[in-house]
Amino acid sequence: MRTCAGCSLRIEGEWEHCPLCGGALHGRAEPSPYPAVPLRFSRRRVLRVLMLSSLGVIVLSFLAQLLFGHEAESLGVLRSVWLGIATTWLVVLMAVSKRRNLAKFIVYLVVAAGGVNVYWDFLTQWSGWSLTYVLPILCSASIIGLLITVRLIRMELADYVVYSGLTVLLGLTPIVFLSLGWVGVALPSVICGALSIAVVVLLLTLRGGAVRHELATRLHL
């Protein structure tokens, strides 16, 4: 075993210099009880900064729309392109941060994309296209998407049951808007509502126990 004269220590491992005082070592080296683990430079901080600054830019670009008002006709195309890019970027960020739970991502997607579309509609003189077409189509598509996802990917029921429930609840909102009379054409909302109700009934009859167990777990006080 090597020794450090300065510290009067025996040093285990193939050290050239004493890890404590940096002095020269004497004696025969023997294998270290610790492996030499290569440095791992963490990219997490960089990613976090990128994520937060991106979110900042996206929120600002949405807020900036309010400054331009409804009438600026010349802004029409530019505004759509700008909002389109910002929304895509938002979806990418969510997909990255929720990549470990697809069911959760779908809920986030519906909320974010639905919200952006309603806002967009509001900016372009509130003709109601978002509530009439976009929201019902988005909700139905996400329910179908979720059904396919849990079939294709091996997911434990406990992992997706709560988020499936949330997605289906979101699917019921077009019915609310329909009853409030905010919707022009009824058909998309009716289809979406019917689909949601069908899935709710299926979920409660086939997986009712699991749903209650999972909710009890997560909401335990």
Binding site: L9, I11, L20, Y34, A36, A210, R218, H220
Partner: protein, 493 residues
């Protein structure tokens, strides 16, 4: 369809996921050095056997709306060669993984545990069984008879408790600082365990729910507060008002390049160090803490005369309140010393620390703490606060708490393993990831090992510590994990 059993995380354990950071992943390591190169295949078999007996270790940590909770899983652990740094992160939110790992490197077997799952004593029970199962396979000729093995009791179970600590030091509370884990088997215990087993065969699910329950709620004697108050007698006397808290000296340094824990280890024969502590009339933990203060004072320019140094010392509550829970069950006691106000020799400092520690480590004082823990556990307001807010609050509390500490300490005490592990294990190791310099002590078979961890690359305080020991005529050897770029340059991984 499988309904997984789950138990919510208790308040003491909740601090760990909340206070976890890139620098301090809240992981600790217990290790053992055997007398041969570790056989990974046998270790895997031993791990599978041990894993079966510890339902708590099947748990994954999940996040609810109001609480973190431990959920039973079907994951299987795998023994791996050591390729990560000491105390590498274990828990990542949203990723469902076991909360412990078993690694091996040359002659060492190490168990790393996320602190929310278990504390040092709980993890030591697991490691003990793992080492016993491994050495039994590796040295089949030395094993006890087969029928005896079938009824072997899990260490720490009520039939196989740790013996009370030996009387060390001259102060009444001294023994609280010194633990003894004689994890050997006992035929009387076998008998009772065997009978109970036959009467009430329990499923894995029931085992999980029982073993994962918060430790404070497993203390039967403490369930009836009135009985305790009657027993406590003078509990009503309020504690003496604390002197105004001075600014505590804190060690600063250069962060390690990839935020890994800087881990060093000093090993030495235990007897002469115990002799030094006894000569000063103090428990070993307090003596080593005083040496640590002295080492920091010698190396840190910021620590001038008049500065106060403080350490947090965990006390294993199982010593006072019988519990077979492997979950977190400890309380920390803060001790401090202000330099430049009298005798600053390590012996005198240690006596001062011992006095302060003994005053708080009495059964009565700890009982009060235990009650506070139980109260907090049942406090309605703490329940309805959503988890993210709870986490944020705990994180702030942890931060404020850290500001009042110079160092942290943990002593697992003297360990005795059952045969045939006892004769094939030499030194044992103990490291805890840390946001400030910390040292952890464990002794086995006459070898005392002090594990130093720190988030900083500087090692001057360990150098001074080692020199204080060698100056007293103790033979010390150092093992270190390479941490900085210079240390790793030109070394084969």
């Amino acid at each position: 369809m499988k309904r997984r059993h789950w138990v919510r995380l208790d308040n003491v354990s909740n601090i760990f996921p909340a206070a976890r950071s890139d620098v301090d992943p809240k992981v600790f390591r217990l290790g053992a050095e055997v007398d041969h190169e570790v056989d990974p295949a046998l270790l895997q078999l031993a791990l599978e056997e041990t894993f079966e007996r510890f339902p708590l270790y099947h748990a994954v940590l999940r996040r609810g709306v109001f609480w973190h909770y431990l959920q039973d899983s079907e994951l299987q652990p795998e023994v791996t060669a050591e390729t990560e740094q000491v105390c590498a992160p274990l828990y990542q939110a949203d990723r469902r993984t076991l909360l412990f790992r078993v690694v091996h490197h040359r002659r060492r077997i190490s168990l790393e545990v996320f602190h929310a799952l278990s504390d040092g004593t709980g993890a030591l029970w697991f490691l003990t069984d793992l080492l016993t199962a491994y050495t039994r396979r590796r040295f089949p000729g030395e094993s006890p008879a087969a029928d005896e093995l079938a009824e072997q009791v899990r260490p720490g179970a009520s039939e196989r408790p740790d013996p009370p600590p030996a009387q060390i030091g001259t102060h009444p509370g001294a023994q609280a600082a010194e633990e003894v884990h004689e994890l050997t088997t006992d035929s009387f215990a076998h008998y009772f365990r065997g009978r109970r087993r036959r009467r009430a065969p329990s499923s894995h699910e029931e085992d999980f729910t029982r073993e994962a329950a918060p430790a404070v709620l497993t203390v039967e004697e403490a369930e009836d507060p009135e009985a305790l108050q009657a027993a406590g007698g003078e509990d009503e006397v309020p504690p003496a008002p604390r002197p105004p808290r001075r600014r505590t000296h804190r060690v600063r340094g250069t962060r390690t390049p990839d935020n890994r824990t800087r881990a060093l280890e000093l090993s030495m024969p235990a007897a002469p160090v115990l002799g030094l502590a006894k000569a000063e009339g103090v428990a070993l933990t307090m003596y080593l803490t005083a040496l640590f203060f002295e080492a920091i004072r010698r190396t840190d320019e910021g620590a001038l005369a008049g500065s106060t140094m403080a350490a947090s010392v965990p006390v294993n509550l199982r010593q006072f309140f019988p519990s077979t829970s492997a979950r977190n069950f400890f309380a920390t006691i803060r001790v401090e010393h202000t330099f430049g106000e009298g005798d600053d020799s390590p012996g005198a400092v240690a006596r001062g620390l011992q006095e302060a520690f003994s005053a708080e480590a009495t059964p009565e004082a700890l009982e009060r703490r235990l009650h506070r823990l139980i109260r907090v556990e049942r406090w309605p307001l703490a329940r309805i606060v959503p988890r993210p807010i709870k986490d944020a609050m705990l994180s702030v509390i942890n931060h404020v708490n850290n500001r009042s500490l110079t160092v942290a300490i943990s002593n697992l005490g003297r360990v005795t393993l059952p045969a045939p592990a006892q004769s094939h294990v030499g030194r044992m190791q103990f490291h805890v990831s840390a946001v400030r310099p910390q040292f952890c002590v464990i002794s086995h078979d006459g070898h005392l090992t002090i594990g130093f961890t720190s988030p900083y690359v500087e090692t001057a305080h360990v150098r001074e510590y080692a020199r204080l020991l060698t100056a007293a005529g103790i033979e010390v050897s150092l093992a270190a994990a390479r941490t900085t770029e210079e240390e790793l340059a030109g070394v084969e991984p």
